[in-house]
């Protein structure tokens, strides 16, 4: 025993003497520290009300970092046994009195102890971050040592054991350093791969158990944690997490035991040697052959080719390389197969989806570059044939170039293989539109240059460092720096090596507007890389040069005119291109770091908030002529606003706000004014009227504005005006009137950084002043609208309204649109080379403007429009327009948005969706999204809430409900279960990542997880209790009451009051539970059994039920229960179902925490439970039913 411990101590001391151990420690420390002090590394959603040192945050950081640490562990524990064989000391050791347990377990314990130490540095790092003087004390909670120690117990100790045992065993079994070094990465990949495979909704438990690091188990335990829980609770070591930890510690010990048994203290134990020595050829005396003469004729190209071939084969034949590539490719294949899952439904495997998955191989390129640049620079020196090579006439730069080209070539071939994977996956999925041009263009045009740049830099670093270890460390530092730079506020791409705006490929608009920016930045960095290579050339080592003085001396000898010419040219190109880029980004465009733009927003608020309640005229009509120049990315808008003073006071000043990118050619009121103040950066103008506008007085604001920026900015060009697929709205370019709260800095943390007071997200629901405005705009409500739009002759341009006429002028195609009724001040302009599908529902024209080739779901969309119109007109109110138009726009954004009679719809959602009618799992989401957007024509464009809390319930939640109803009619109630399960899970997750406060739905502050996900659940449940007819009739009455109303605008309170009226008194708590509070249930089956008698089955159930109210931070209090909750018994499920046919399904009035029921059914039951269809919001919906 003492021998074992002293051997372990020996191992520990060995590691503590090695500098690399401290590098590992520093790495873990740095990761954790950076997490605590910057945004460079972000894990989870700390911020807002969640303290930086909350138990949850510390737990997450330390847990995730054990995963990172795993890559390191392989170098510590994988080599523990191998080292002796490598150093050839094993024969010395094994012939001493050292016993096998002491040797094997001692080595293991030592390595394990070091690993735990290294992992624990994560806790130290995050702890140090808390004491960092620049850490905002307001972001810290009470803290406590136990919050740091507990994750060490739950994650560090077991995970280090799992990793050490595994790597130790691999080391013993393979006796191969290569295997040991690569396994960390391979395991990492395998792990993320397994995660993506088991990430399915149904497999949560399995995933939680199978994850060796406990991350999934922790997620499942914490999935619905609220702010207050995150701030106060240590992760509880029970249930899945406990089982997971026990399972894996057990497995680790088992692996260790196996490895121990396999190990023999012998010189070679099935040890794989590098092949046996070659047998000596026979030694018959030979005739001295004369060596034939040769002509020495150095041919640089032949040399280069030979060298490149040598290095290329050296890389591609290397086992670690193959292991890396194989695991990366496997990951790519899996990802490609799972391309774009939305609600469990796939899209067509279009080429742009494939290239982005292939591009995500980037991490592997980084690893390959890091590993092999050093390997190649040191190739001859580590093989000890550098002197032989250096004594040949071959030129040193040529060898160096061959190494670079060899690696770059390997990477280029890798891309080719990845393309083959993409094409193969497309083919397997039955998609045959292989756009090879896009594959090659994107991957070689935009991905590969970045890979090459990184490679060049890595080579430069290795040459300069002239020490393999230092070089590798510096390459990693560079990788970290590229992430950290922007977090430190250095966001300009001119000083972030290799960073160019990456074009997004779109079927509509090809490579898009950022190509020029990408090429210029890439050229800039290639020029810089040439400068670096020129420097590297001076410092290349030939022969046995020792020390910097000798290297510099050699460098001086290499300063030839040719060198100066090359370096000078590269430097000139770098400076020249840099200046050109700077001109583009900082003169033609505006560059501002995040901090600077936050500061500007803060300045806006400080300077002008005083005018927030200043009486301003309102826009009542818009008439505009828009010229779109797609090929140049420009537009011009000439037109006028009709204004009226609806205030009871005179208006003596007109305040105007514009985007700073807009050129103002004319902006004038139809009466004399003086420009009192003009702020060119904030574009806030104050015009003083010579004679004030009297109440009720009208005026016209004429404007002639243009967006005509040339060149590109730091992030490329605007994607709203593009060659094919222009889509912009009035908010982007048109003048706004008066101060608008929506431009204020919203995030609390960022407000604090700018020294602004905290503010509420929205006005209180009872704020009568705020009810003067809708939540869409503060300068207008219902307006008359007319627009004409001109565009390129091959494009169709669209604005809200009905087409009045179409004409050609100056070789351009023009369209005039006119609205026949008042609309909200929210309008969009689109232009593209569209194909058009036309249909009709009664007298309503249905038109879909789409990209040719995207015909897949057009009939579904048309169908959804028709069925939506059917349902909404029958149940709510008439449709206010005579037309529904859906317009595809490029995938620079992926949403659909409803404008009056106009629905822009991204090419990435719906248009390429692949809904397989025969697959029970597929949801028809193009149908669903279309129905939702059509519903907005009622819920937003007829009924619009005031600018107060809860208004998004009136638009978004009611649109969700409306779409659900259309969907249910089409696909049946069963199909809804899956959808609602997603909604419940998204809601619980959403509230878990809330940073400020959760609110009841009727007070929601534009919180998507509330108005979408909870909205679906709330209205679907209400429909269940009140009945569809009652609910719809109430909604119809509500529409009649408030549609197109003038200010003050309606609020959620008004709707909730009407709903209360129609709710039976016995169910009165429903309104409170669903709308007015955050109510959660904790329902589960305690016991369930079944008895069979005479073909009858008696099911005995013990059900637990609790009803909880949560406050805005998630503190729960139990409230008395008196609810009608469904209890059900089900037959065995068919394929693809979770529950079978209901044999019994009734509401029971439940008032007790525990209820025992006996139910009798005629068929053999399979499962039974309480609220089996998850209609109530239950934080743990999985335990509602139990199998019998």
């Amino acid at each position: 025993m003492s021998q074992l411990l002293s051997f372990a101590g020996f191992e520990l001391r060995y590691h503590l003497r090695r500098p690399i151990t401290y590098v590992f420690m520093a790495t873990m420390f740095a990761f954790a520290f950076l997490f605590g002090t910057t945004d460079a590394i972000s894990i989870g959603g700390v911020g807002g009300k969640i303290a930086l040192n909350s138990p949850w945050a510390l737990n997450t950081v330390i847990m995730v970092l054990t995963l990172v640490g795993m890559i390191i562990t392989s170098a510590i524990s994988g080599t523990a046994i191998l080292r002796d064989f490598e150093l050839k000391t094993h024969e010395l050791l094994f012939t001493t009195r050292l016993s096998k347990p002491s040797f094997v377990l001692g080595r293991f314990l030592g390595a394990y102890a070091v690993t735990v130490l290294v992992f624990s540095c994560a806790a130290l790092g995050i702890g140090a971050a808390m004491f960092w003087p620049w850490t905002d004390a307001d972001k810290l909670g009470p803290g406590g040592l136990v919050n740091y120690l507990w994750p060490l117990v739950v994650y560090v100790l077991p995970n280090a054991l799992v990793a050490c045992a595994l790597f130790f065993a691999v080391g013993i079994l393979t006796r191969s350093f290569i295997a040991v070094y690569v396994q960390g990465i391979v395991l990492f990949v395998g792990y993320s791969l397994a995660l993506s495979l088991i990430a399915d909704l149904e497999n949560k438990t399995r995933a939680a158990l199978l994850d060796p690091f406990g991350i999934q188990a922790t997620r499942s335990v914490q999935e619905s944690w609220t702010v207050v829980e995150k701030n106060n609770l240590l992760v509880p070591l029970r249930d899945l997490l406990l089982y997971n930890r026990l399972l894996w510690v057990g497995l680790a010990l088992l692996v260790l035991a196996l490895a121990y048994r396999m190990f023999r203290m012998e010189a070679f134990l099935g040890a794989r040697r590098r092949g046996k020595p070659e047998p000596e050829p026979d030694q018959t005396p030979r005739v001295a052959t004369s060596i034939p003469p040769v002509t020495l004729r150095p041919r640089p190209l032949a040399e280069l080719r030979t060298l490149i071939g040598l290095y290329y084969r050296g890389i591609t034949g290397d086992r670690p390389f193959r292991a890396l590539v194989a695991s990366g490719m496997l990951l790519t294949v899996i990802n490609a197969f799972n391309a774009d899952l939305i609600y469990g439904t796939t899209t067509y495997p279009v080429t742009y989806a494939m290239i982005e998955i292939v591009a995500s191989f980037g991490l592997f390129f980084l690893i390959i570059t890091a590993l092999y640049s050093g390997e190649l620079v040191w190739r001859e020196r580590s093989l000890h044939c550098d002197q032989i090579q250096d004594a040949t006439p071959v030129s040193t730069p040529r060898v160096f170039a061959a190494k670079i080209i060899g690696l770059v070539l390997a990477q280029a071939v890798l891309i080719l293989a990845l393309i083959a994977i993409g094409v193969a996956v497309q083919a397997i999925k039955g998609y045959t539109n292989f756009e090879l041009g896009v594959y090659f263009g994107y991957l070689y045009g935009f991905v590969f240059p970045g890979v090459v740049l990184t490679t060049l830099l890595a080579f430069f670093i290795h040459v300069v460092a002239n020490n393999k270890f230092l070089g590798n460390a510096l390459v990693v530092v560079f990788y970290i720096l590229t992430i950290a730079l922007s977090a430190w506020g250095l966001e300009h791409r001119l000083y972030n090596f290799g960073n160019a705006p990456t074009p997004t490929y779109s079927d509509m608009n090809g490579y898009g507007p950022d190509v020029a920016a990408n090429l210029w930045f890439t050229a800039y960095y290639f020029a810089w890389a040439m400068v670096l290579l020129a420097i590297a050339r001076l410092l290349l080592v030939r022969g046995t040069v020792a020390g910097w003085r000798a290297r510099l001396h050699a460098a001086r000898g290499r300063l030839t005119p040719r060198w100066f010419a090359f370096a000078g040219l590269a430097l000139a190109a770098w400076v020249g291109i840099g200046a050109f880029i700077l001109h583009n980004t900082n003169t033609l465009h505006v560059f501002r770091s995040r901090d600077a733009s936050d500061a500007l927003q803060a300045e806006y608020e400080r300077s002008y908030k005083q005018y927030e309640s200043l009486p301003q005229p309102r826009i009542t009509a818009v008439d505009v002529h828009v010229d779109i120049f797609p090929e140049r990315g420009h537009m011009q808008a000439r037109g006028s606003y009709q204004l009226v003073n609806r205030n009871e006071l005179d208006v003596s000043e007109l305040h105007l706000r514009l985007d700073e990118a807009v050129t103002i050619r004319e902006l004038a009121l139809d009466r004399p004014t003086t420009l009192v103040s003009d702020d060119p950066r904030l574009r806030y103008q104050i015009l003083r009227l010579a004679t004030p506008m009297r109440p009720g007085e009208r005026a016209t604001l004429n404007f002639d504005l243009a967006y005509e920026r040339e060149g590109f900015g730091n992030d490329g060009r605007r994607s709203s005006i593009v060659d094919n697929g222009t889509f912009f709205n009035n908010v982007e370019f048109f003048p706004g009137i008066g101060y608008s709260r929506s431009y204020e800095l919203a995030d609390d943390d960022r407000r604090k950084e700018q020294g602004l007071p905290l503010r509420e997200r929205m006005h209180k629901v009872d704020d009568q002043d705020a009810r003067k405005n809708t939540y869409i705009a503060s300068d207008a409500d219902w307006i008359d609208f007319a627009a004409s739009v001109c565009t390129s002759p091959d494009q169709i341009a669209i604005a809200p309204g009905y087409l009045q006429r179409e004409w050609e002028a100056d070789g351009r195609r023009c369209f005039a649109y006119q609205m026949d009724s008042k609309i909200l001040p929210f309008f969009a302009f689109l232009s593209a080379r569209y194909a058009v599908l036309r249909d009709k529902w009664k007298d309503v024209d249905i038109e879909i403007y789409y990209q040719p080739g995207h015909e897949y779901n057009l009939t579904r969309m048309v169908d959804a429009v028709k069925k939506s119109l059917d349902y909404f007109t029958a149940n709510f109110s008439p449709y206010q327009h005579r037309q529904v138009r859906i317009l595809e726009f490029p995938r620079y954004a992926s949403f659909a948005q409803s404008f009056p009679n106009t629905i822009p719809y991204s090419e990435s959602i719906g248009f390429i969706a692949r809904v397989r009618p025969d697959d029970p799992d597929d949801l028809d989401y193009p149908f669903y999204v279309t129905a939702h957007e059509v519903a907005h024509q009622w819920w937003a464009h007829q009924v619009i809430g005031a600018d107060v809390q809860g208004s998004t319930m009136l638009s978004e939640s009611l649109s969700q409900y409306s779409a659900l109803m259309v969907m249910e009619r089409e696909y049946g109630r069963d199909k809804m279960k899956k959808f609602l399960a997603y909604e419940l899970r998204s809601y619980l997750r959403g509230r878990s990542s809330e940073r400020k406060k959760e609110l009841p739905i009727m007070l929601g502050e534009d919180q998507p997880y509330i108005h979408y996900n909870k909205g679906s659940l709330v209205f679907y449940a209400l429909r269940d209790y009140l009945g569809e007819d009652v609910l719809n009739a109430t909604l119809a009455r509500y529409i009649r009451k408030v549609a197109f109303q003038p200010p003050p605008f309606t609020t959620s309170k008004e709707l909730v009051a009407m709903l209360r009226e129609v709710t039976p008194p016995a169910q009165a708590h429903l309104i409170e539970d669903l709308f007015e509070t955050i109510t959660l249930f904790d329902n589960k089956v305690r016991e369930a059994s079944v008895e069979e008698k005479d073909g009858k089955f008696t099911v005995k159930l013990t059900l637990a039920a609790r009803k909880l109210r949560a406050d805005e931070l998630g503190v729960e209090t139990e409230v008395p229960l008196a609810d009608d909750i469904e209890v059900g018994v089900f037959a065995a499920p068919g394929p693809g179902e979770t529950l079978g046919r209901p044999l019994y399904l009734q509401r029971h009035h439940i008032t007790q925490a525990e209820t025992t029921l006996e139910l009798s059914v005629d068929e053999r039951p399979d499962r039974a439970g309480i609220d089996p269809n998850n209609k109530l919001i239950d934080r743990n919906p999985d335990d509602n039913t139990a199998s019998l």
Binding site: R274, G275, E278, A288, T289, V294, R297, E303, A391
Partner: protein, 298 residues
């Protein structure tokens, strides 16, 4: 062509004075460079092979100024370093082809012929397709010389090639060296005296960064003739002998120390005269250098 080295000095950054004014003239043919470990042999070799720059001095090979016209020299050079490795996954043939290209043998037909001939000559033809990672020490060394001989160099430098080889391999290797033409300058550095004795018409002894002696082996043994004496001694009296006489070597023969002593006339009755061997010469010079470290003319 002749290699002439003048006043070559080299001091490493760590203070080791590897070469302290080396002057040597090396005619075509085999030239042995004899010296103990750390004598500066490898430094000298590397300097001649253009792999490191001296602090001062000059090297000329024929018309070529080696220190400034490195590229020119490398065209004529074949170099086999003391310790070397080769790309372990490549076959012997591929390794040779590779270095042949680097040496500028770009005519494919000639290159193949040359590689084939060298493989034949070094007796590696049978294993030419085998990966060199599996080669024994002797095979690797022979492949090394094959690489050095690629492109028919005019100057061949082999640094301690026989160290660690078994006697058969050593002979096989020396035979290979012996086959290199007489018009080529071949520098063989070694600390094994027999290597020089068997092969080299000329040699130099180098120790402590200085050339102690240069000339032909026969000539140098002649200078010692009649001055060398030998005696079987005991361990106990060794220190006394070493103090009294110029003992140039002590070795065990069947477990008893036998001393060689340099002395004008018989040092005593127990001594018998011996015919000087090159080894005696070597020991004599090295012992002398250690006794009086002041500079001596070579």
């Amino acid at each position: 062509m002749e290699l002439s080295i003048k006043k070559l000095t080299k001091t490493y950054p760590n203070g080791v004075r590897a070469l302290q004014g080396v002057d040597l003239t090396i005619p075509p043919g085999m030239f042995g460079l004899l010296g103990p470990n750390g004598a500066g042999k490898s430094s000298l070799m590397r300097t001649i092979a253009t792999l490191q720059d001296p602090d001062a001095g000059s090297i000329r090979f024929g018309d070529i100024d080696v220190l400034t016209q490195k590229a020119e020299l490398r065209k004529l050079l074949g170099y086999l370093p003391q310790e070397f490795g080769l790309y372990p996954n490549l076959s012997a043939e591929a390794v040779l082809e590779h270095f042949a290209v680097l040496k500028g043998i770009t005519v494919r037909r000639e290159r193949h012929a040359q590689v084939a001939a060298l493989l034949e000559q070094t007796n590696l033809a049978a294993v030419r397709k085998k990966a060199v990672g599996g080669f024994s020490g002797g095979m690797k060394q022979r492949l090394g010389i094959a690489i050095a001989l690629l492109g028919r160099p005019r100057l061949v430098i082999v640094d301690e090639p026989t160290a660690g080889l078994d006697p058969t391999e050593r002979h096989r290797f020396l035979n290979l060296l012996g086959e290199i033409g007489d018009d080529v300058v071949v520098i063989l550095s070694t600390h094994i005296v027999e290597d020089v004795a068997e092969l080299c018409p000329n040699f130099a002894i180098i120790a402590g960064g200085r050339v102690l002696y240069t000339g032909a082996p026969e000539a140098v043994t002649a200078t010692l003739r009649g001055k060398l004496w030998r005696r079987v001694s005991t361990r106990a009296e060794l220190p006394d002998l070493q103090r009294r006489l110029k003992v140039i070597s002590t070795r065990l023969i069947t477990g008893r120390p036998v001393v060689h002593v340099h002395h004008e006339g018989s040092p005593g009755p127990d001594f018998e005269p011996v015919e000087p061997s090159l080894e005696d010469v070597y020991f004599h010079h090295v012992a002398q250098a250690q006794a009086e470290p002041a500079a001596r003319p070579a």
